[in-house]
């Protein structure tokens, strides 16, 4: 189990809000901290991990809840 530093709730948000919010959030966080992102918009759920990887952060996990349109993404800040 990882220690989650902060949680960003993007449920109900449409694209690009989850993308922009998570990008802004990780900028403010310190190296080694873990951000948990909750998102229910498919495009953002697929793109946030890609964006984070390209920014150099580590995607610890990205999981869709069974039978539901809801994803939990864990990012470790570089």
């Amino acid at each position: 189990m990882v220690d989650i530093t902060e949680t960003l709730d993007c449920l109900g948000d449409v694209c690009p809000y989850p993308d922009v919010k998570s990008k802004r959030k990780v900028k403010k966080m310190k190296s080694g901290e873990v951000l948990k992102i909750l998102v229910d918009y498919p495009l953002s759920a697929e793109r946030i991990p890609e964006t984070m990887t390209s920014l150099g952060h580590e995607v610890l996990s990205s999981e869709k809840e069974e039978g539901e349109s809801k994803w939990t993404i864990l990012i470790k800040i570089k």
């Binding site: 109900g12 948000d13 449409v14 694209c15 690009p16 990008k23 498919p42 495009l43 349109s69």
Partner: protein, 347 residues
């Protein structure tokens, strides 16, 4: 009387289009916006693949005499300003005309609000309080000497379209698609393993989406023409027709396109239910909802003034090399960037 064949043909193409949009997460708003916002180019590459696919298909159908090109008109101020306002509106609305439509099927109530704005804005501009502004903006039409719409290659559009489309398509595959496939360790262009999972359970890769969107538009044109509307896909005019019918009760407003847009909602619903992504949801921040409504109205205004939205002008008009459509498309991209900067990039 409602013509059942027109209804069926329109609604089935719409369901196919909506399903592909939903599974492919195809959104032109994201495509253009993310060039500057996230420095992300996948979706815009997908748009370019769709356009080049259309150019090839339209070119072949034009040469074979299956369809006759019907480019949209060009008005000096209308096309520029209509495109710009549409582009700004689509960022506020969090989706272009097609994106907003299929997301209603996904259960996104913010998109429903944007869609109501789109219909209202289009109606006000086409036949209501803003029709004076529309007439003024469209007062300087630029046409050929015989009054027909200006297109880059005139009578030679089909042959030039075919050549440009084929070259563009080949370049896109060579420089963009093949490297990605090599990276994935998948050198088969069509990989039919786990097809069911790929179609229904995950989002589609951007290159598949672009090509399939193009193919849907190619199929759509002759079917739409057979129903008395000689044009490939569009969105805004369909909602405008539905709204006019609902308000006036006059069935003359219903046509292939009005059924098609309803099909897009159903296709979005189908795709999201099968992919287990359907959920009724709304933005937590009420301000977002208000912005989506305003964005919808701006899109409706821009689409009527510019004679088409991102589908009618961009996806269907550019492959016909309509000068008006190309100008509107430029305006849409620029408007999108301006609004994305104002909303998301100023810290």
């Amino acid at each position: 009387m409602v013509d059942l064949m027109v209804l069926l043909s329109g609604i089935l193409v719409g369901i196919l289009f909506g399903f592909v949009l939903q599974r492919g997460r195809f959104c032109m708003n994201s495509a253009f916006r993310d060039i500057i916002l996230l420095k992300e180019y996948k979706l815009v590459k997908s748009v370019i693949l769709a356009l080049t696919t259309c150019m090839i298909g339209f070119g072949i159908m034009g040469l074979a005499g299956i369809v006759s090109y019907n480019p949209k008109g060009f008005t000096l101020y209308g096309s520029i300003i209509g495109g710009l306002i549409f582009g700004m509106g689509m960022v506020l609305a969090a989706g272009c005309a097609s994106g907003t439509t299929y997301r209603v099927g996904e259960g996104m109530m913010g998109s429903l609000v944007a869609l109501l704005g789109l219909g209202l804005g289009a109606y006000m501009t086409a036949a209501g309080a803003l029709s004076g502004a529309k007439a003024a903006l469209q007062s300087v039409p630029i046409t050929n000497a015989d009054g027909t719409s200006l297109s880059v290659f005139g009578d030679l559009t089909s042959i030039f379209g075919l050549i440009i489309g084929a070259v563009g398509f080949a370049l896109a595959i060579y420089f963009w698609v093949l490297p990605v496939m090599k990276e994935k360790g998948n050198d088969k262009f069509l990989d039919f393993s786990d097809l069911k999972v790929k179609i229904f359970n995950t989002g589609w890769p951007w290159y598949t989406v672009g090509i399939i969107i193009g193919i849907v538009n190619i199929i759509a044109w002759p079917l739409s023409a057979a129903a008395g509307r000689n044009y490939p896909l569009g969105i805004t005019a369909g909602w405008l027709g539905n709204l006019k019918y609902l308000v006036s009760g006059d069935e003359a407003n219903l046509n292939w396109l009005t059924w098609m847009v309803i099909g897009v909602v159903l296709g979005g619903l189908l795709g999201s239910v099968i992919g287990k992504e359907f959920k009724l949801r709304t933005p937590k921040d009420a301000k977002v909802l208000l912005l989506q409504f305003i964005g919808g109205i701006l899109m409706g205004f821009g689409a009527v003034v510019g004679m088409g939205c991102n589908i009618g002008n961009l996806l269907s008009g550019i492959p016909q090399f309509s000068v008006g459509s190309i100008v509107v498309a430029g305006g849409i991209v620029l408007g999108c960037w301006i609004m994305a900067y104002i909303m998301f990039m100023r810290e």
